[in-house]
Structures are given as C-alpha cells and as structure tokens.
C-alpha cells in the first residue's frame, strides 16, 4: 500500500477519472451484488459478465460513474482496467449524469433525410440543454445524438430512456411525448 505524500498541483491533462463527474453512490446494494453473482454464474469466465454487470451498475448508480466501474470490477474480481476499457468503448453506458428522461435522436443518414437534425434542434430547444451537457436545470431532461435506432424506413426517430421510442416524430408528436413524460406516464431513467 502506498502512503502518498500530499499531492502537488499538476498541470498535466486530467485523466479520465478526474474528467468524469463522480456519483453519489460508491458501492453496490446487496441485491445488486446478488443479481451480478447470478449472472456471473452463467458464464465459464467472469469477464463475460462485464456488460450485464455494467448495466446493473448504471441502473444502481444512476450513470456509469468511475465508482460504478470500480464496483463492477470488485464485484466480479476482474481488473478495473478491463471494466474501464469496456465502459468507455460502449456509448450506451452514460459516463455522466442524465435527466429523468434521456432523449435520444438519431441523425444517421435515413433520419437525416427526413429531418433528424431539425428534430434534434427542437428537442434541445424544448429541453433547454444541448447534447452531452448533462441534465437540464429541473433535472427532467438530457439529450443525446445517437446512431441508428433501427427504423430507417420511418424516421426521424426518437428514443426516451431505454424502453420508449417513436417513429415519424414531428413537432406535435414531440410535444405529446414530452407531456407524457412530465405526467409521469413513462418510466424514469434507472427506475
């Protein structure tokens, strides 16, 4: 164990851990640990459980924070570096906090042809945040520009969190979706 001296100020660029916002939660709940153990038991190699464990972490910690990654490494007894590498590779592990409703707009070619970029602009206007900015002041919204949502024939597409998504989204439909969110008709992020 290192017994470090008081840190000096550094002008070196910040490392990932410092660039990333910290989560309040530092460790898994007992239930989550059980869930992860059950998943790990299905595979011959614990590394294979990294992805599902990270999903559980994202749900528990609210987003995939550095502490969430460390908790996954600890829960599976696998190297932290591996978890970090995996988590930083996949974009759907949110490395910073998101709103209660995470609005994801596709701007790939098919959606772009049918107004994906314009939809993204409107979403940003109404939510009051730009993509990658984190949650809006009321904590309700965050916005992300995403890759294909697998409905290329019926764009533009919008996805809310992981389970609600819509095709042919125009302004009217966008308002309906956002109102439904506000009324609490949709499941909140990480609930």
């Amino acid at each position: 164990m290192n017994h470090p001296m008081p840190p000096e100020t550094s002008e070196a660029p910040l490392a990932p851990g410092q660039r990333l916002p910290r989560s309040e939660r530092k460790e898994f709940s007992a239930e989550a640990l059980q869930e992860i153990a059950a998943i790990a038991a299905k595979y011959p190699d614990k590394l294979a459980a990294t992805l599902p464990a990270l999903h559980i972490a994202q749900r528990e910690f609210g987003f995939t924070s550095l502490d969430a990654m460390k908790a996954v490494a600890k829960a599976l007894s696998i190297p932290e570096g591996h978890v970090f590498g995996v988590a930083s590779f996949y974009t759907m592990y949110q490395k910073q906090p998101v709103g209660k409703y995470h609005l994801q707009v596709c701007t790939n070619i098919s959606c772009a042809l049918s107004g994906g970029a314009q939809l993204l602009e409107k979403v940003c206007q109404r939510a009051g945040v730009q993509p990658g900015e984190g949650p809006s002041k009321d904590g309700l919204w965050s916005v992300e520009e995403v890759e294909c949502l697998a409905a290329c024939g019926s764009g533009p597409c919008l996805q809310v969190n992981h389970d609600i998504y819509d095709e042919y989204v125009d302004e009217r439909k966008l308002d309906e979706i956002m109102q439904a969110c506000k009324r609490g008709e949709y499941r909140e992020w990480a609930k």
Partner: protein
C-alpha cells in the same frame, strides 16, 4: 516433436509450441510489436503474420500452434509489403523526431528496417514526468497495449487502461491523472515491455542504453530474484529482470528494479575512517585496519576472547558470512558471533529445526503453483516479498482458496477465502484451535500421522484447552471462521503454508512456528509438491548468513556443535565453545562483560527493539569496528573504526534465498572510491590478527569450496554449476545431484518420525490499560527496506513516506488526528514520531508503525520482551498511547 517446413526447410519443434517460438528457435526473425513471452498472445499488431500453405489468409505466428506437416513462408514479397503498410499506418501519427533521438527501441528499429519515416506531431500535453523512475511520453504510444496486459497479467494490477473506442482509443495510467498519483506499485514491467519508449526508465532516458548487462541476484529481500545490472564503463545505469530466472520469471518489484540509487549516494563513505577525539577522521586503509586489529587484540588480551562480539551481515555473500564466523572463532577465539536472523526468522529456523531437523523452508516458491490452497500466516508478501506475493495473488485471482492470518487487512487478505484477524500476540491459541478442529473433527491425515510422526497422544491432550470458542475470545476472531479455516486447510490438499515475522517476532515466536509445523504434520502437508511450511526470509542472504555459521550455537551449515565440531577442528584447529547471541551480547555489553564489537553491514542500534537499552549497552563498549557503506545510526553513535564496504553491485560471490537456492552474485562495476569487499576486509583483518595462514583464499570460489568440505548438503554446489539460471537448491550432496526443491519426502533429518510437542501459551507482558490503550504492531512497506539504509537514499522516498503510522479512522477521530498529521507514539519504554496514515486496513486500537525510518526510530518504543528460546524480540506487540503533535 512435430516436423514442419519453414521456408522450405524441414525443422522439428516441440509440441504445443507456437509458430513464433519455432521461427525464433530457428533464427527466423519475424517482426512483432505486441508480443511478450511473459503474456498471453494478443495478436493485435498483426506484424508476425505468416503464410501457411492451405490457409486462405495469413496467420499470426504468435498465436498459432505448430502442427505436423505445416509449411510456412515468412518473408514473401506480399507479406513484407503488408508489414510495411502496417508500420506506415503507425508511423503517420508517430512523432518524426523521436526515432533518431532514441534509436534503440524495437519500433524504431522496425522503422529503420522498413525504411518508413515517422511524420506525426509531438504535443507536450502527452508528456508525464511526474514519476521518479518512469518517464511517460504518450506521443510515442502505438497502441500495442503491452503495458495494459503486462500490468494485468504479470503484476496483477491494472494501472494502465484503454480508454475510448476506434481511432480515439488510447492508453492512460490509472484514473488520477499522473502516473505518480495512481496506485501504481512501480514494478517497471510496463517500461520493460514497451516497444517504443512511450514508457521508459528515466535512467535510460538520461544515460542511454547500458553497454554491458551483468547477471546477478537482487540485494533486497530473500526471494532471490535474478536480475541484470546495466552499466556503462563505471556507471550503474539500470536494472532489468532476468527473463529466464525460475524465481522471478522475468519480473521484479520496485526495490529490486529501481532501488540502485544508494550505490552512488552523496553520503556514501568511501574512505576508511577512525574516530579521534570524538570526530571521524579519514585515514589510510593500513591505519584503519591496524587500529581495528589493535582494538580487538587489546580487548582480547585484557578481558579474554569472550569480551568480543562479531556480527555478520545478511546483506553480504555466503563466502563473507562464512569467513566472518571463521574470523570470530579462529582469529579471535570467540563464539560470540551472530547475524540479524536473530531479530527475524531465528524462531522459524529453531521451530523447523526442532520439529523436522532442517531450519529452512521445506518447499519452494514453485510449489505455490502446485498447491490447492495457500495459507499465509503473519506475512504481507505482496509488499515485503512482492514476487512471491504475486504468485499467490495470481492463484487467488484464479479461484484458488486462500487463508490469510493477519491482524491487518492486507492486499492478500482482501482476496482471501477466510481472513482470520487475531489480536497481535495471540497466535498460539489460534493455531492450537485450528489443530483442535482438525483433530476433533477427524480431518487429520491418519496414515501420515501414524507412519511419520510420534507424540500424537500427548499433543492431542494439550490441544483440548483451546476449543475454538475459547480461542476466539482470546484472539478476537469468530469461532466459526476458525472452524472454516481449519476445515479448508485440512481438506484442501496439497496446502502450501508460508509465514512471516507476524509469527516469529513475538514472545511465543518459536512456539508459534512449532504450532504451524504441527498443522502441516497433522494434515500430511510435508514432503510433497505444493505443500510445506515456508518462512519468507527478509534479506537477500539472511538464510545464507545463518547457514554459513554466523550463529553462536551452530557451526557451518547451521549444524550443531556436537555433530560437526570434529570436522571443523580437523581443518581449523581448536574452536571456542558456543557463545552469545546478539541479544545476549547486548546484555553482556550493558554489564561490562563485552567490550568490543566487529559489525559487518548491520545497523543494530536502529533495528533492535528497545533502542534506549541498546544504546545504554553499546555506549559502554571500548570500541566498535563498523564495516558498511554508510554512517549508519550504529556507526554514528558508537563506531570507532569505519571500514568502507563494497556494495552488492561491486563484488563476486553467492547468495542463498529463502528456498535454499544458491545463486551467483557478480560484480558489474568496480567498488566506489576506496571501498573494498567484506571478503577483502576479512582477509586483511585475519592477517593482522595473526591468522593469515588460515585465510589463504584467492577468490570467493576458494572460500566456497571450503564451505563444501564442511557442510555436505552443499558439497555438490560447485561454482561452475551455478552458471545456469536459478543456481542450485541444497541439499545437493554431490556434483551429479540436481538439487532438492522439496525436503522431507520420505524421512526427516531428525529420524523417520517427526515429534509432536505439547505447547503452552504464555501471554505477552505488554497489555493495554487506560494509560496505554493501543496495541502497536510494526512492519514494512513495499517501497522501503528494513533499516532504510539503502531505500531512503533512492527516489523511493518520492513514492511514499517512510515514517508512517497506520491508524484506523475511528481512533484518529477520537484523538482528533487528521490524515498525514504528525503524532507521537509513547510506550512504557520510549517514544517516536510518525505521520498518521488513516486506513481501515488496521483495526481500531491496533495501529501499525512502519519501521524503516531513522527519523521515526520506531524501536525506541519497543519493549524488552523476547522469545525465550531464540531471544528474538517482541516487535509485534507493544502497549502505547498516541498524541497529536503540538505545533510549535
């Protein structure tokens, strides 16, 4: 063997080899970037791709096993073009000016070979110069990920991380920014493997690649890692691990890899000195040696030979230790000769010797890989014997059950299946309770106990007082955990046990070892692969020093007087009777019976418990001759003659590691200044003491050959046999014998049967009360070594503090102490100051003092408690109180 065709030439390769191994064995140099033999093949760089007949696409040679009849083409035009293309892609973003500046890196050689210019930019933000040993210039990174893999696979850490995806993916250290701020343990493996110098040793960056590499043995702990010392004409530059060493398998720790700065430290004394009128004065060798001899002869004349004490050095070679005891016995006529094994593993040697007949590790480090279970008792090997610790850690990470007995939650304890945390000083009840469970639940190895032991009935009766519940209350552990550990140890065989100073540095030290040996005897864990009782020895040659006879009651080979005195006297003439050990010498000095000391490489004042009493005793000496590299605390306070010694890097000989392995030590550079090896100094002293004719040696080999005559266990260990990696493990009675990695396979040196002995528990006199409410434990840290003489003179001081008191946050809160704040620790015997380091790896009420620092001088607070059999002091349990330092 399988037969394959390499570029049309038929060759044989061993089954299971990779194609790359076969190619290299036959001199076919296929380029690689991501390959390192210490790791699993990564097949990432694709440079080693070769064409195999019948395969649609080229295959990576590093990951393809050889097969019968394979026909391989390695350097066709298409392949070479493909390789050049790959290198061009890397070169496009590789900084243009770097390869010419620093040509001696594999990637730079490839650029030159394929005539590819590097054309990328260099940006200052990718430079990290924070670490004292490793310079990071990530502009040079070619994403081979060797650092990431070696950190995970070899060191078992994961400091290096791949971040991002696609073209953005890159390697970063830790998650704290700079490498220095990460939990990096500075083993240097990443720099060893890096093919570009993105991570490289500062030493090589500053001084260039060394011209010569001299193979030798590490001068720190008793693991005995083989290394190569890089030097230019007269400068030590760098150290790298020996790739083919069986002990360390191409790896080293921070001490062995980087701790060489002391050799050229400014305060190294390189001229002989004599104290005149209280002040040190530089003199010639002749003057100093004459003065030393005169002191010893004067005291011998006036007070008799028993008024002289001699201490051998566990840092020196076997040959030097052997001559030290010979000089004491033959030259001075005194049996008062000892070494620092007295304060560490003397109880291990005594306990193992008593029970089995050989006071050394029964098995080898390689047995860790063969064990079904490992039990670590009172040892913290990932810090103190990192290479051994890693072997255990790797096994535990792969699911091997691990039992750790330690009051602290060490790195291994965090991986343990069962972690028993006894209060310091309560080993005996715990060990006896483990035996109680094993015996009473019938889990012991009945055939082994029946065939190879005796005294079982009396032992059985003596165990009954320590039922798990009673032991649990005494030790502060859970009775069910005791049961769990006992069942696991007894039923998961073979079980490898290793122990450290947490067992020996107690007032019940020897009994503790005996109790552990009993556990191994009960479960039949002796004499077979993957088992045994294995003390982890602290210094490079502490095993050797005691084994060479720097032991007051033993002669060469740690052999008892009565067995071998005739053999010795036939060669040396009449010998004095057994003498005083170190602690007895100090007692005698205090009483005026001991008047002079000759001390080789040993800071006994700093490292012996109860420093105030040590000082009072040493102050009464008429004189002390100190042979060392530095003015140690002992030399400063009590030395009268100082003889400057050569370091490990500057001399020839052999070391013996903690698994009885004798390995060659070789000189890489000439001794600094006027320094001389201990061996030279011993020969000069012998001449002046009038026994020069008995000390006619022309080389260390001559000396060793005399050892071989006196101790049959090493009779077969000839110097010329030590040229191959790993040397030889004794017993090795003749020159055809391959050496012995596992002792006691069929019988014990004590006879066919080992004896069980009843053990009684005599608690320590150190007890907590209202005035002294804490139980202080002491020990070592990863970055520093023993008296700190060497490591405080290296840049390891930039990695960590050496004066640290680990304190539980709850205790700190009650005392109002903040992290890194200075505290005073007081016992009945003395006090010291240290920086508090708040950590919950120590329990409340059980602070842990790191003892390396002369600044802190922890031993001032240690008490007079001793193991009654070996006199090893009680370093591991002292009642203390802690106060916040008042700011002046």
């Amino acid at each position: 063997m399988v037969r394959l065709l390499l570029n049309g030439t038929p060759v044989d390769a061993p089954e299971g080899a990779t194609l790359l191994q076969a190619l290299r064995a036959h001199g076919l140099n296929v380029p690689t970037l991501c390959h390192d033999a210490r790791m699993q093949p990564a097949s990432a760089c694709r440079l080693c791709e070769v064409e195999v007949d019948g395969q649609e696409r080229p295959l990576c040679a590093c990951a393809t096993p050889v097969a019968e009849g394979m026909s391989v083409h390695t350097h066709g035009e298409a392949l070479e073009g493909y390789r050049k293309g790959l290198i061009e892609m890397l070169a496009r973003r590789y900084p243009g000016e770097i390869p010419a500046l620093d040509p001696d890196h594999p990637f730079h050689r490839l650029l030159l070979h394929y005539q590819v210019p590097a054309t990328g930019p260099w940006v200052p933000s990718k430079l990290d110069e924070s670490h004292p040993y490793l310079r990071l210039d990530m502009n040079r990174c070619v994403d081979c990920y060797r650092c990431v893999h070696i950190c995970e696979e070899v060191q078992g850490h994961s400091i290096w991380k791949v971040v991002g995806r696609g073209a953005e993916a890159h390697v970063e250290p830790g998650d704290a920014g700079r490498l220095l701020d990460s939990p990096c343990v500075s083993c240097g493996a990443c720099a060893d493997t890096c093919p570009t110098g993105a991570i490289q040793d500062w030493a090589r960056y500053r001084h260039g690649t060394p011209i010569t590499w001299t193979r030798s043995v590490c001068s720190y702990c008793g693991t005995g890692c083989e290394l190569e010392i890089g030097s230019t004409s007269d400068r030590l530059v760098d150290i790298r691990p020996a790739q083919d060493a069986p002990v360390n398998r191409g790896h080293l720790c921070v001490k062995g890899r980087f701790g060489l700065g002391f050799n050229d430290a400014e305060d190294r004394v390189t001229s002989p000195m004599v104290r005149r009128g209280g002040e040190w004065e530089a003199v010639t060798w002749d003057e100093a040696l004459d003065e030393a001899a005169a002191l010893l002869l004067r005291v011998k004349e006036a007070h008799g030979p028993t008024a002289i004490g001699v201490l051998g050095s566990s840092r020196g070679t076997n040959e030097e230790a052997f001559l030290t005891q010979k000089l004491a016995r033959v030259g001075l006529g005194t049996g008062n000769v000892d070494c620092c094994a007295r304060v560490c593993h003397a109880p291990s040697a005594a306990g193992l010797g008593l029970a089995l007949g050989t006071g050394a590790a029964t098995n080898s480090f390689a047995d860790i890989d063969l064990a079904a279970l490992v039990m670590v008792v009172g040892a913290n090997p990932t810090e103190n014997h990192p290479i051994v610790g890693l072997r255990i850690k790797h096994r535990a990470l792969k699911g091997m059950p691990l039992i750790v007995i330690d009051p602290r939650r060490t790195e291994l304890a965090e991986l343990a299946t069962v972690h028993l945390r006894p209060r310091p000083g309560t080993n005996i009840p715990l060990f006896q309770a483990l035996a109680h469970v094993i015996v009473n639940e019938g889990l012991y190895d009945h055939p082994f106990v029946a065939a190879r032991t005796e005294g079982f009935e009396a032992y059985l009766a003596s165990l009954q007082e320590w039922a798990p519940e009673r032991a649990a209350a005494t030790c502060g552990v859970d009775a069910d955990d005791i049961r769990k550990a006992a069942r696991l140890y007894a039923t998961t065989g073979p079980a490898y046990m290793c122990n450290g100073l947490g067992v020996t540095e107690q007032v019940q030290g020897s009994d503790g070892i005996l109790a552990l040996v009993h556990l191994a005897l009960l479960t039949g864990n002796l004499g077979k692969p993957g088992s045994g009782v294995n003390p982890l020895r602290g210094q490079n040659n502490v095993q050797g020093c005691a084994q060479m006879g720097c032991e007051p009651k033993r002669l060469t080979g740690y052999q008892p007087y009565d067995q071998v005195i005739a053999k010795h006297e036939a060669l040396w003439g009449p010998l004095p009777p057994p003498g005083l050990d170190l602690l007895e010498m100090l007692d005698a000095a205090g009483e005026g019976r001991l008047r002079a000391m000759l001390v080789f490489g040993y800071d006994l004042y700093l490292t012996t418990a109860n420093a105030h009493r040590t000082a009072a005793a040493l102050a009464q000496l008429e004189g002390m001759v100190v042979v060392d590299l530095f003015m140690t605390e002992t030399a400063k306070a009590f030395g009268t003659v100082f003889l400057p010694a050569a370091s490990t890097f500057e001399k020839e000989g052999t070391f013996m590691n903690g698994e009885r392995r004798v390995q060659r030590v070789r000189a890489a550079i000439a001794p600094r200044g006027q320094s001389r090896s201990d061996l030279d100094i011993l020969l000069e002293l012998a001449k002046r003491l009038g026994v020069g004719d008995q000390f006619q040696y022309h080389s260390p080999e001559d000396v060793w050959n005399e050892v071989r005559k006196l101790w049959t266990a090493v009779a077969g260990v000839a110097y010329h046999r030590l040229e191959h990696p790993g040397g030889l493990q004794w017993p090795c009675p003749d020159e055809l014998h391959p050496g012995t990695s596992i002792l006691h396979a069929k019988t014990f040196p004590v006879g066919d049967r080992a004896q069980f002995r009843p053990i009684a528990f005599h608690p320590s006199a150190e007890v907590v009360d209202e005035a002294f409410p804490f139980l202080l434990n002491t020990g070592r840290s990863l970055q520093h070594f023993n008296a700190g003489t060497m490591t405080v003179r290296t840049e390891n001081t930039k990695l960590t503090r050496d004066d640290v008191l680990e304190l539980n946050p709850a205790d700190a809160a009650a005392l109002g102490v903040l992290d890194d704040e200075e505290v005073t620790v007081e016992s009945h015997h003395g006090a010291f100051q240290a920086h508090a380091h708040l950590t919950d790896r120590v329990r409340p009420g059980e602070p842990f003092g790191i003892f390396h620092s002369a600044k802190a001088f922890v031993n001032r607070a240690m008490g007079p408690g001793r193991d009654p059999k070996t006199h090893t002091p009680e370093f591991k349990r002292t009642a203390v109180r802690i106060r916040k330092m008042v700011q002046a």
